[in-house]
Symmetry: C2
Subunit: 348 residues, 2 copies
């Protein structure tokens, strides 16, 4: 029976769901060969830290965290010294979207701390951080480094990165990747320009609806600027062998009209957005006129090195056009699969 | 640098492609931390065996095999004794569809030989063989057993079993699995009843076309009886926790008309099949009359324990109906994914 110690940072939407699933997993796997021992549950302003490395009881961890006056571990020194004291291997689960925390991954990995995270920042920022992370992680010539797992940085729970890695590791060559990588963008265009049934909703109304349903960030501009999709595409491109220096070093089409970039609030932005509905309607009608529909996608082409994020038209019979709700879809075109993409789709 | 020894049995379509990919892999990974050493290339009547465990040169292996007068290793004793002599771990790659060879998996695994195979027989025959395989394979309480990998037994190269295992291992609950698991069945119904464009082809003509294109077994009845799909569904059902005793212990709809089961040859069968085209046309028209289309699918429902293989109708806008060519599609409905299935599709 191996004990594995887990430090969990971040208790937002993803973090809370992770704590729930981990708690259920621990309860129902008491006799598993690996016993998971939570030793840190932390948010930006406070933490619950098990000083003697005994397990934190997860069902009351959030309540205890809300009452806690303990400071979070400071990175890297205090955290490393605490992790080194653990009587077994430590996994840091970073459920934040904090770029500062991600900058400490190399130091953690070098010291044998494992990292599992949906935080895109470490893998989609400047390529020097990416290089430093993978140079510090466990590998054939670095058996003392920690493992780094970031499957959920693209496609959330869908098997996207594992599929891509497996294709490459077994000798296939990726030629093109194309898909809808944002649940928000998926919902917006599946609702604004659904296939089959006509929709008369205006784009600005759909954005308001998406925000009301909780499908967007509090300020929808954080979705509409395309940066979230660009970060995911950066990760896919790098894994496919393309040297993408930063998440903005390729064309990204923003859906925020220039004059509204500086709107003082989300509400002011949404009020102004209606003025641009006619332009969006035109794009939709132009696509319909040639039997197509518009979708907001990311694309990469390994041979030409081209990477881009933005609006494209698709045949109404294509899997991308037929997507429902806020699902993601990712198509891998490879040497082995030829013209028939390997497609993964589902809730992102 | 770890040396891993590989014994390859079977040089049919799958076996030949495997040898080609392995040869390319070895050529382009000379400095990898794991060096793969082919020591056996075998077909049913002859073998090339490296007596001193030096690597067989794959580019000429098939020619040498064609000229070889060496008998194949006999299982289990001679093979085990040869494998035990190897100066490292041995992986048996079974590229046959031989049930007799599969029956030796437990003895091989117990002796630490690893198995990687697309051969469905070991995993879809009587459940006692399944139980015996997994009791003999490496596990928490059996660290000396060999690993067994059979990803390609369902969905070929598509990440189907890995996705299912990952969902279960991370605590998700599978509720339903549904899909098109046979490239042949996919092609037949995508061609006979395509969505969008009408088709006037008769079912028997489509079967002849599929055979001419090499999409069916030499005798198409080996596809049309549904057994291949039933074996795949048996594997998925067992991994999902259902106790399926044999691959025929649930309803399987055959597409072979009763009187033609005993037709003396494939040609005689195909000539007779035309007499049943009207019945198939009716099924197609009945589906179209309610805005649907017919597809040959496998389904399992974990809660009710229901497993079945056969024709069903699907909305023309569903991903199953919209499939192209001979692609496979597998939809996983789980507790976490709710009504939005996690879908994997592509060439099977």
């Amino acid at each position: 029976m191996t004990k594995v110690y887990i430090a969990i940072i971040g208790v937002g939407g993803v973090g809370k769901e992770f704590l729930k699933q981990l708690s259920n997993y621990i309860t129902s796997n008491r006799s598993a060969p690996h016993i998971l021992i939570p030793i840190v549950v932390s948010r930006s302003s406070a933490a619950v830290v098990s000083q003697d490395y005994s397990p934190i009881f997860l069902p009351s961890a959030l309540d205890n965290l809300a009452r806690s006056t303990t400071n979070p571990l400071s990175f890297p020194d205090e955290a490393l010294s605490y992790f080194r004291g653990a009587p077994g291997e430590v996994i840091l689960v970073d459920n934040t979207s904090d770029e500062k925390l991600a900058a400490h991954y190399p130091a953690l990995l070098k010291n044998g701390v494992h990292i599992a995270t949906p935080n895109k920042k470490g893998f989609s920022s400047d390529i020097t951080l990416w290089d430093s992370i993978f140079a510090s992680a466990r590998g054939p010539s670095n058996l003392g480094g920690g493992y780094v797992f970031h499957e959920a940085t693209v496609g959330a729970g869908l098997p996207v990165l594992s599929t891509l890695r497996e294709l490459i590791e077994t000798g296939d060559k990726v030629k093109k990747i194309e898909g809808i990588f944002s649940g928000t963008m998926s919902f917006l265009f599946n609702t604004f320009a659904p296939v089959g049934s006509g929709s008369s909703a205006r784009f600005s109304e759909v954005v308001v609806k998406a925000r009301d349903l909780g499908y967007t960030e509090p300020d929808p501009r954080d979705d509409l600027n395309g940066l979230d999709v660009a970060r995911k595409l950066t990760i896919l491109a790098r894994l496919s062998g393309l040297n993408v220096r930063t998440p903005t070093s390729f064309p990204i089409q923003t859906l925020i009209p220039k004059p509204l970039e500086s709107a003082a609030s989300a509400d002011e932005f949404l009020q102004g957005l209606g003025d641009y509905d006619t332009a969006m309607d035109e794009l939709k009608r132009d696509a319909e006129a040639i039997g197509k529909t518009i979708r907001y996608v990311g694309k990469l082409d390994v041979e030409s090195g081209h990477v881009e994020v933005g609006l494209h038209t698709f045949n109404t019979s294509s899997p991308i056009a037929g997507l429902k709700g806020s699902d993601n879809i990712i198509s891998f075109y490879t040497e082995r699969y030829g013209d028939n993409a390997l497609i993964v789709q589902g809730a992102g």
